[in-house]
Structure formats: C-alpha cells, structure tokens
C-alpha cells in the first residue's frame, strides 16, 4: 500500500506540474517593431473564413485558425506598405508555441520570431534558435515548403529538433494562409 500511495503522489504531482503555462519569449509589440521596421501605422485584417475556405486551408496544412478567423497585421509608413505579419499558434503535446511570420512587400518571408513557448519547451526552442533555425526561413515564398528543421539535424538534440519541426509547421501555415487569403 505504501508503494501505491507514493506512486500515486509522484504521478499526481508530475501531472499537476505538467500543466504547460505559456512563456513569452518576445513581446508581440517588440516582434512587430523588429519585423515591420519603420512602420508608423498598423492595420489588422480579419478574414472570417467560410466553411469551404476553412476546409481548403485545413486540407492544405492540417490547420484551422482559432474561431475560424485569420488575422493579418500590416505595417505602413505613411501610405507605403512595409510588410504583413501573422501570429500562428502550433499546439504540441507539450503546450502551444506561437510563431510570428512576417512577409515583405514582394510576398517573401522577411523574418520569423518564436514569440511564445511553454515552461517545458522553452529550453528546446532556445536551443533550436541558437542553432540558427529562423535564418533558414528568410526569402521563402508561398511556393516553398519550410524545412529549416532538416538543416538542424545532427547539430541539436531530439527535442530541439522536434520543436524546430513545430516551427516549420507554423511557418507552413503562415505561408498557406498568406498565399491564399491575403489579397
């Protein structure tokens, strides 16, 4: 009975502490300022997807945005467009990761910042970032398939590699959403 009680206690504590609270790696306003440099006006474009479009997106990248709404944020300097960005969340068994993907005026990726992770995934994400993960996304267009994680294979551990694959997934979602619904 003693063993049973102890095992239950350890399991209970582990699961209660397994709750994966979000950790902000970069504040959203800071990410926006970095990814849309020079912008002095900002706009949020909410795209409320009809069933058919939501299905199309789901088929393409196995993803449905929260409440069926895609939000694109554009930054302008005066009337000149600086760029567009999206915050994309990827749910993992270790909690959600938020990937911020910015596009330049030609529609290519200007930069990617991982803005949120969890207490559990933060060290893995940071290791992947230190290995140069996000640099591999620069210049990708909607015709490309992001696979920056493959470039990290062998240089990071299994869990950072797994998180890199999740970031790939977030960038793929951003590309699909931007290519299909940002007109």
């Amino acid at each position: 009975m003693t063993t049973m009680f102890r095992a239950a206690a350890v399991a209970a504590a582990a699961v209660l502490l397994h709750i994966t609270p979000t950790v902000v790696l970069v504040e959203r306003p800071d990410a926006v300022a970095q990814l849309l440099p020079g912008a002095d006006r900002y706009f949020a474009r909410e795209v409320h997807l009809a069933d058919a479009d939501a299905h199309k997106l789901h088929e393409a990248v196995d993803w449905s945005p929260t409440d069926g709404v895609l939000t694109f944020y554009s930054g302008r300097r005066g009337n000149a467009l600086i760029g567009v960005l999206e915050f994309v969340r990827v749910d993992t068994p270790h909690g959600p990761v938020e990937v911020t993907v910015a596009f330049d005026t030609r529609g290519a990726i200007r930069g990617v910042i991982v803005t949120k992770a969890t207490v559990e995934t933060k060290p893995w994400v940071l290791e992947a970032l230190r290995a140069g993960l996000v640099g591999h996304y620069r210049g990708l267009t909607v015709a490309d398939i992001p696979a920056a994680s493959t470039a990290l294979r062998g240089s990071v551990g299994e869990l950072p590699l797994y998180m890199a694959q999740q970031v790939d997934k977030g960038v793929a979602r951003a590309l699909a959403a931007y290519g299909t619904f940002y007109k």
Binding site: M1, H18, P21, R28
Partner: protein, 183 residues
C-alpha cells in the same frame, strides 16, 4: 472497522501523510499558477475561457474580410493566457484523468477515516464532483455564457476544500487524536 488509519502502522500513516502533503504542495502551486494565468475572479476566468469577441456564432456563407487600424501598443494582448477550444480540449484531456486519480487516492484516505457513512459519501462525492464542476464551468463559459465562470471558481474552491477536509481530518486522526484505552 477493517481499515482504520488512526490505528494503522506508522509507515502507513507516514505514507498517507506524504501523499497528502504532496497533493497540498501541488495544489498550492496550482493555485499560484491560476493566479498567474487565469485569476480567481469571474471576469478574469471568463476572459480566459470565453470565446473571443470577434468570433461569429456561425461561419459566414462566404469569407468576410474586415480591416481596422490599430496602434503598436494594442499588439500587447489584453488576456495573458486565453484558452481557446483546442487548448481547452488538451487541458481537459490532460487534467481530468489525473483529477480522477487524485480524487480516488483521497477517497481511499477517506475510507480509513472515522466518520459517519453519510459524511464519507458526501466527502467522496465532493472530491469527484469538484473537478467536474471546474471543467464543466470552463466549457459552459466558452460555449454558453461567460456567467458560467462562477462554476469554474466554485469547482476550484471545492477541490481545495476537499483536500483541506481530508488532509485535516487524516492528520488529526492519525497523529494528534489520543486513542481512548479500552478496558
């Protein structure tokens, strides 16, 4: 009484004590985390779990685009940790089974306490009903009305009350109450 914790061997009492104190530690941190990520008031809980204001009750027949200006400071999110449907599914999947295990462990402790049958039934019911109320409140807050946040608050406090009742009674009966000598 076949199973009486107050007369159990010291190792059994000690393991039950360790179990209860471990639960108390985990619950303490759980409460701290609720304070950090959701809050204890109905408004904060509703802000965490209710659907976002921009969601539509039904998907539109054709995709709708709405654009509005915003400031850089508005990129900072008002809700620190909004939980959408996908995350609530994950949270429910992770938490409910473990809450069941915790309730079962505490119920085993209750079975070894000296209390009336009615009190034991009531306490065991409380232990299992509390997490149900907690998560029911979250789901109803999301899909019916923000007012159901009260149910989550009641459920959370009921979980705490269940632990305090069982722990208090167990520690009292195992370690503090003097046995009357039987002549």
């Amino acid at each position: 009484m076949l199973y009486d914790l107050s007369r159990a061997d010291a190792p059994v009492k000690w393991s039950v004590t360790c179990l209860l104190l471990t639960f108390a530690l985990a619950y303490g941190f759980g409460g701290w985390m609720v304070a950090l990520y959701a809050g204890f008031g109905p408004k904060q809980v509703a802000a965490t779990y209710a659907r976002s204001e921009m969601s539509m009750p039904m998907p539109p027949e054709s995709t709708v685009v709405v654009e509005h200006p915003m400031t850089l400071s508005q990129f900072a999110e008002s809700a620190p940790h909004p939980v959408d449907t996908a995350l609530l599914v994950q949270d429910t999947h992770v938490h409910v089974p473990m809450y069941g295990v915790i309730a079962a462990c505490l119920s085993v402790v209750v079975l070894g306490l000296r209390m009336s049958r009615r009190a034991a039934l009531g306490t065991i019911s409380l232990l299992f009903a509390a997490p149900w109320l907690d998560f029911l409140g979250m789901w109803l807050t999301k899909f019916l009305a923000p007012g159901f946040a009260w149910l989550t608050i009641v459920g959370g406090w009921a979980m705490a009350a269940g632990l305090v009742i069982v722990t208090g009674m167990a520690l009292w009966q195992m370690w503090l109450r003097k046995e009357r000598a039987v002549s």
